[in-house]
């Protein structure tokens, strides 16, 4: 067995892992390793060939592979060790990372660990659609990978279940490739994707989006021949009279992402059952000291730009931890109030000398709203938005001097204006 020592080990080399490693390195910790199971860095961005990445962070609009390449170049400029095609199998509370690759088992003793394993798609097993199970049914991400990385034509006529961004992007991609996308069906009464994607991926190609609609049945023996779609009532029960058959040879499922947290749980880290990620403070430190988390493994992000920001926080904090400069003594909880589904970080160190940004998602689409962060009766921060939607992460920043006024938990809520 190969035993190594590094100050910081980053698990996962997607945009989160790369940005975290670079930030840690630039904060003065030069013994840094990234471990990824794939033969190259970049994570899911390698298959996201569309543009729209980097507008916030880099001030220009890039495609996924181009955005990844910016960070790969930064990693390559520093003497950061990268283990490719190496699968991490466990992370222990004492910060020993165990991995396997073609050379056998690798054990790394680290002073700090950054978890950046990303997320995976919910599979059809998690869904209850009646009917047969023929070929031609893919998760949207799998279809994206097959098409964009291997050049495999997925199908000629498709129905997409789920209106998250990956489903919308795939609707456009298939249309451009000459396939006919018959419909995008969304169970909820609103889309989970960014509005801009509804415009440029559906409206541009005259693809109908049916809200409060699901796939009720799948038809076909060897290959899928069609689906029955139907409207659902407010309890998400199928309304029989609205059932309608659509012929198709492909069904794409874009029904949500789940953070990939087996390793996190294996390390005994406390989880948040709304985000499905670890509970962290503003330094992105989990409840296991010296273990940090960032990117989609912590909360599912819609914009990679915010993934990179979050990863930089984790990287800098991990470096401080290794240097014994990270104190997170006096924490209070954050609480999701009216209209807010979750708040991240779940805990705030109120002794911090830096401003603290709280990220949140709303429970439903709203028009003009005011977000407020309060601790008891003390107003900590407010922000007004012309609209808010569950598909778009919101942020509110509490100034460092305001942290001193905090006495009890911080509640984030919204009021409609």
């Amino acid at each position: 067995m190969d035993i190594k020592n590094f100050d910081i080990v980053v698990v996962g080399g997607g945009p989160a892992g790369m940005a975290a490693a670079v930030a840690a390195y630039d904060s003065g910790i030069t013994s840094v390793a990234i471990i990824d199971r794939e033969p190259s860095l970049g994570g899911i961005l390698r298959q996201c060939i569309h543009n729209g990445f980097g507008l916030h962070k880099l001030g220009k609009e890039l495609t996924g592979p181009e955005y990844a390449a910016v960070y790969e170049t930064e990693v390559a400029k520093r003497s950061i060790m990268v283990y490719y095609e190496t699968m991490v199998t466990s992370v222990s509370a004492d910060k020993t990372v165990t991995a396997t690759n073609k050379n056998g088992i690798l054990k790394i003793k680290a002073k700090a660990v950054i978890l950046a394993m990303g997320c995976r798609e919910r599979s059809r097993g998690a869904l209850n659609i009646s009917g047969t199970r023929p070929a031609g049914i893919y998760s949207a991400g799998t279809a994206q990978k097959l098409m964009n990385c291997e050049g495999f034509a997925v199908g000629k006529t498709a129905v997409i279940l789920g209106s998250g961004d990956i489903g919308l992007i795939m609707a456009r991609r298939m249309s451009l490739e000459g396939a006919k996308v018959e419909a995008v069906c969304e169970l909820m009464p609103y889309s989970g994707g960014l509005t801009r994607n509804i415009v440029q991926c559906l409206e541009d190609f005259d693809i109908p989006l049916y809200l409060s609609t699901t796939v009720a049945e799948i038809h076909g023996k060897d290959r899928i021949e069609g689906v029955t779609i139907a409207k659902v009532d407010e309890n998400r029960n199928i309304i029989e009279e609205t059932k309608r058959y659509i012929p198709c040879d492909t069904l794409l499922l874009s029904v949500g992402l789940i953070p990939e947290n087996e390793l996190t749980m294996g390390a005994g880290i406390t989880m948040d059952n709304v985000t499905n990620g670890a509970v962290v403070d503003q330094y992105r430190q989990t409840e296991q000291s010296g273990i940090f988390a960032c990117g989609n493994v912590l909360q599912v992000h819609d914009l990679v730009d915010y993934v990179s920001d979050e990863a930089e926080i984790a990287g800098k904090s991990a470096a401080k931890y290794v240097k014994n400069q990270l104190e997170a003594g006096n924490t209070v909880k954050t609480v999701a109030g009216n209209g807010v589904r979750y708040v991240l970080p779940q805990k705030v160190d109120i002794k911090s000398s830096e401003d603290v940004s709280l990220f949140m998602r709303v429970t439903a689409p709203f028009g003009k709203v005011r977000f407020t962060a309060k601790s008891g009766d003390t107003l900590l921060a407010t922000a007004v938005r012309l609209k808010a939607a569950p598909g778009e992460m919101e942020k509110i920043t509490i100034k460092a001097e305001k942290l001193r006024e905090i006495t009890t938990e911080i509640t984030l809520s919204l009021e409609e204006l």
């Binding site: 390698r46 060939i49 569309h50 543009n51 729209g52 507008l55 916030h56 609009e61 890039l62 495609t63 592979p65 181009e66 390449a69 098409m147 964009n148 990385c149 291997e150 050049g151 451009l176 490739e177 000459g178 960014l194 509005t195 801009r196 509804i198 415009v199 440029q200 541009d204 819609d302 914009l303 012309l386 609209k387 778009e392």
Partner: protein, 115 residues
């Protein structure tokens, strides 16, 4: 004439109102890019096209590509025909021109492919 549009330039997705008459007047945009978008959208809508091109000398490998600048929206299908008929050889660097002069711009590589 009044028209409502969603700006697609950035993820904020502002709802714009464009009033045509004596020139085009745009409101609802949180930044100047929204105004340009609305005017383009009413006069000459533009889109960046992204796709993939098969790498001839490597099995099961595609290189991702994009139009260097946005092209007219109604030319997307034709641009795709040209892209689909193309194959290239690795090695390829990001920014390499894969197809020259497609509706006033070039199709360039967005991924590095090493042999």
């Amino acid at each position: 004439m009044k028209k409502q549009l969603i700006c697609i330039i950035c993820p904020r997705g502002c709802t714009l109102t464009a009033e045509s008459g004596n020139g085009i007047k745009v409101s609802g945009n949180a930044c100047p890019k929204g105004e340009k978008y609305a005017i383009d959208e009413l006069t000459n809508p533009l889109r960046t096209v992204t796709s993939t091109v098969r790498v001839k000398n490597m099995p099961l490998t595609m290189v991702s590509v994009k139009t260097k600048d946005p092209i007219p929206k109604d030319k997307m299908a034709e641009a795709m025909k040209i892209i689909r008929a193309t194959e290239v050889n690795a090695p390829i660097k990001i920014g390499d021109v894969i197809i020259k002069d497609v509706f006033g711009t070039d199709i360039i590589a967005t991924k590095e492919i090493n042999l």
